[in-house]
Structure formats: structure tokens, C-alpha cells
Subunit: 317 residues, 2 copies
Amino acid sequence: MTDAITATAPAATALPFGRWLAAHGQRVEHALERVLPPASMHPVRLHEAMRYAVLSGGKRVRPMLVYAAGEAVGAPGPALDCAACAVELIHAYSLVHDDLPCMDDDVLRRGRPTVHVQYGEALAMLVGDSLQALAFEVLAATAGNGAGGAASAAMVAELARAAGSTGMAGGQAIDLASVGARLDREALEDMHRRKTGALLRASVRLGGMCAAGTSAHGNDAGVPPMHPLDRYADAIGLAFQVVDDILDVEGDSATLGKTAGKDAEQNKPTYVSALGLEAARRLAGQLREQARGAIAPLGDAGHRLGEIADLIVLRES
Amino acid sequence: MTDAITATAPAATALPFGRWLAAHGQRVEHALERVLPPASMHPVRLHEAMRYAVLSGGKRVRPMLVYAAGEAVGAPGPALDCAACAVELIHAYSLVHDDLPCMDDDVLRRGRPTVHVQYGEALAMLVGDSLQALAFEVLAATAGNGAGGAASAAMVAELARAAGSTGMAGGQAIDLASVGARLDREALEDMHRRKTGALLRASVRLGGMCAAGTSAHGNDAGVPPMHPLDRYADAIGLAFQVVDDILDVEGDSATLGKTAGKDAEQNKPTYVSALGLEAARRLAGQLREQARGAIAPLGDAGHRLGEIADLIVLRES
């Protein structure tokens, strides 16, 4: 896929964004197809359920961030494919566990029955557990795919922190504890910085870290300057959640592919409940500007990241 | 700890096994204490529950295998500490998830209430998820602790395969599907080779792989000869499960620290139900001999591994 894209696009940024998105969307689908064990492999029901959980047409926002950040700093394509799959596998595992009866108890995801509705609770838990392990297996393969061993180990640590108790899983624990509570904006931001932001941020950073093994960045352990990427990632991480909260109020279940109005029904604190709808909309717009400002130092190379910031804020589902 | 052990033991193998075990047991407790986030760190309830799950006095068989295999091939101590913690964190996470109501629904573990009884189901799931992420974070730290980047990435891939859908989690899925079924010995072995064997085997292999960065094994990517370690690991992996099944029938809950007779009660296939008690005992003895035979080529360096094989087969809980 990398070769095909290069052949049709003399300058990467010349490709219209819609075509870039479609091409990279196909690319990560193919990569996920390849890294997931075939449904015919023993134990077949587990592998079938893992594929059901992952290959169900999500928006693949996190892989797009990996590719856009990686291409901005000249990272090798095969390493980016590994990192893109890894972040999406972590995301997919978190959705499977999040939907379980002991957590959000959701029955609909991307317009289809959730994994535990389709395969039972016990298998759904094992699906999530297995997808997390697979994410790290695939990420470790960046070592042999252009990133080098030291950068690969650093990426594993980065993704593990983003997924773990001070990142995504920690954010979910705070979310659990805050059902029915009234969080102020600072506490809400802290929760979302962990729950959703940490993995979005890691996606951007992993894209950048894949470039560590290239000659442009000298040695195996070096990574490109991360400050613009970090500030960008922080802004879009929060923007993503603010827009999610707005869509939960404004959207309908058919467009969202999940149950709308669920947050209010479950009495969960959201940006809309904390700020009101209009202020939440303004905040999303401000965060989009912050994200675009952060990557200005990257010049034209940051082009795709800017377009993804727009996509995140202006999406309708 | 490494220095203290070296100082009191001119030749490592001269230390009586009991003292070696006690010293390495203390060593891994200290290392686990260090790598687990403090209970005072936000989110505190999650971190408290993670520590409850891990720091509750298990036998630490897997860390002992890491140390014994690593010392047999001259691996650096700091890398072994990372690998020892990583395998124990994976083991601890699997127990937390295994005990959940949707799985084994167990209320007692190591003589204390299980994590979900103590902290609720949702948090118990997040504890398991967080411990798995932490395992990979800690294992990636082998890169900067004497193993080198390439070996560290290879170890992450090794542990991920052992924990994932074709290893431990896959074995649990097969276990789930076989409740009430009558498995023949081949099918039982396949299940246990995944469910328990894969992580025990990985523990032995990771110990060996930690030596990849030492001068004795030349370059960063090289690993010491794995055949004796692999054959040893296969034998003790099965032996461990056979003995577990025997103890479930013979033991009492107080000695085991968990509910005895649970397998029969849940109509789970075991070596005892498949072979009968006497034949299961004979099999455990044969596997112990196989394990000792496998490491004979290592000579005196394999001493501790032999003693651990004895420990696994002759234990009473």
C-alpha cells in the first residue's frame, strides 16, 4: 500500500485529504486483517470474536494520527503500520471491556451487537485481554520494521503508560467513581486527559517515535522533536471528548452507531452538563485552533495533522 | 539485592536452595513494590487494588524461573528483575480476571477475598487491564537494564504471545468451552500448554533472553541456546498443572489458600478426572524426570532449575 500511495502522489500533501484518508483507512484495515489471527485458528471462537471486535468499521482516528504524525517527520511506513495497528487494538480492547455489563452495559456498538451480547461475557473479557496482548506484540515488531530495537522498546513503554493505570484504564476508574457526581471542569479534564486523551496523545507520539531509526534522526535511540506533536495531541485529545459529549446530546443512535443520550441517562458528568451546550461548542472550536497553532512550527509537513484536527471537531458521528 | 547475594555466595550454586529461594523471593517482592504505582497516587482506589492483587504473598514461581534460567546463562541482574516482575504481573492480572463472576466466580484467593469481592467487579476488571499494561511497561525497561533494545523488543513479543489468544488467554477460552465436556489427554494437554504452560515457558525463556546483551552472547540480537530451556519449560509447565489438579482433590482450602474441590464441583476436566489419581501422580513424577533430563546439558549452571522442578512437583499447596 505504501508503494501505491507514493506512486500516485508525487508530493504526499498534494493528495486531497479525502483520498489520503481513504488510502490510509484501507491500509490500516489490511494491516489489521494481517495481524489478527485468522478465524480458522484454534481457539476459533476467541479468534472469530477478536476479529468481530476489531474489523467492524470504526473511524480509525488513532491510526490516522499515527500515520499523519509519522509522515510529518519521515518515519518508515512498515513501522507506522505496526504502531497504527497497536493503537487501534488497544482502543478496540477498551471498547469491548467498556461495554460489559459491569461497566457501561451497552448492547450496541458501531450499529451491531456488542461483543458480550454476541459471544457472552466471559469470552468478551478474554477478547479484550487478548487484544491488549496482541497490541504489544505488534508494536514490538516495529524493531524489525525500520524503527530499531531501542525505539521499539521505548514505544512499548509509551503505549503501556497510555493504556495503564495512570492513562486510559485510570481514566475509566475515575469515570466509574464519578457516576452521579458533579465534576468541575478541571476534574473533568483530568479524567478525559487520561480516559481518551492519553491514547490519542500516544498515537501522535508513536508516529513520531517511529522515525527514530531513520538516518534523518541519527541514532537508534533518538527521536524527533516532540513538543509540537505533544501540544497538538493534548488539544485534539480534549477536543475529541468535548465533541463526543456534544454528539451524545445532539446525535441520534443511527448516525452514532451506538446508543445516544446514554451519558445523561447514566447521570455521567460531561462537558455539556458542566458547561452547557453552547460553551461546549465554543470550547471545541478553541481546541481546534490550539491544535492547529501547535503544529505551525512543522510547516507544510504538519498539513495532515491540521486536517485531522478539523475532522475531529467537525465530525457528525 | 544482587550484590548482597554475590557477596555472601562465592559460587552461586553453593547457596542452599532454601536460602536462594528466600533471597530471590525478597528480591522480587522489593522489585514489585517499586514498579507498582504507590497507593497514594491518583486514582488511588485503582492503585490500592492493584497492590492488593499483586502484593499478597504468592509463591512467585514464575519470577523464580526467570532468575534461575537467567543465572544459568549469566544474564544481568537488573534485566532479570524487570522480566521477573513482568511475568508475575501477567500472572496476577490473569488471576484477577479468572476469579470474576463471569469466569470462575471465586471469592477466596491466597486466603483473602478476591479483588472483585473487595473492590467490585468493574474495578477488578480495570485492575487486571492495568496490570497487563504495567507488565509490558516493565519488560520494555530491560532495554536500559542490560538486555539491549533488540532483545527487549523480542522479549515483549515473547511475553505477548504467551499471554495472548494462542497462549494463556486462548487456554482460558478453551477451558470455558470445555466445562462439562470430557476431554481426552491430548486435548487436556493442549489446553494446559496454553493456559498455564505458555507463561511458565515464557518465564524460563525470558530469563535466557535477558543474557542477549551480555558479552558472553556477543551481540544485542543474539540469544543463548534455548533448546534445553525450552524442553525443561515444556515439562515443568505440564507438571505444574498435573500437580495443581492433584492438590485440588487432595488439599484442603486452608493449605491451598483457595477453594479446594472447585474443579470437580464445576465439572471441569482435570488430569485426575482424565487419568485417575494414581496415574496423575506417576505422570507428575515422569515430567519431573523429563525436566531434569532436559537441563542436563547445562551442567552445574542448570542446578537451580532442577531444584525448582522438584519444588513444583513436591509442593503441597
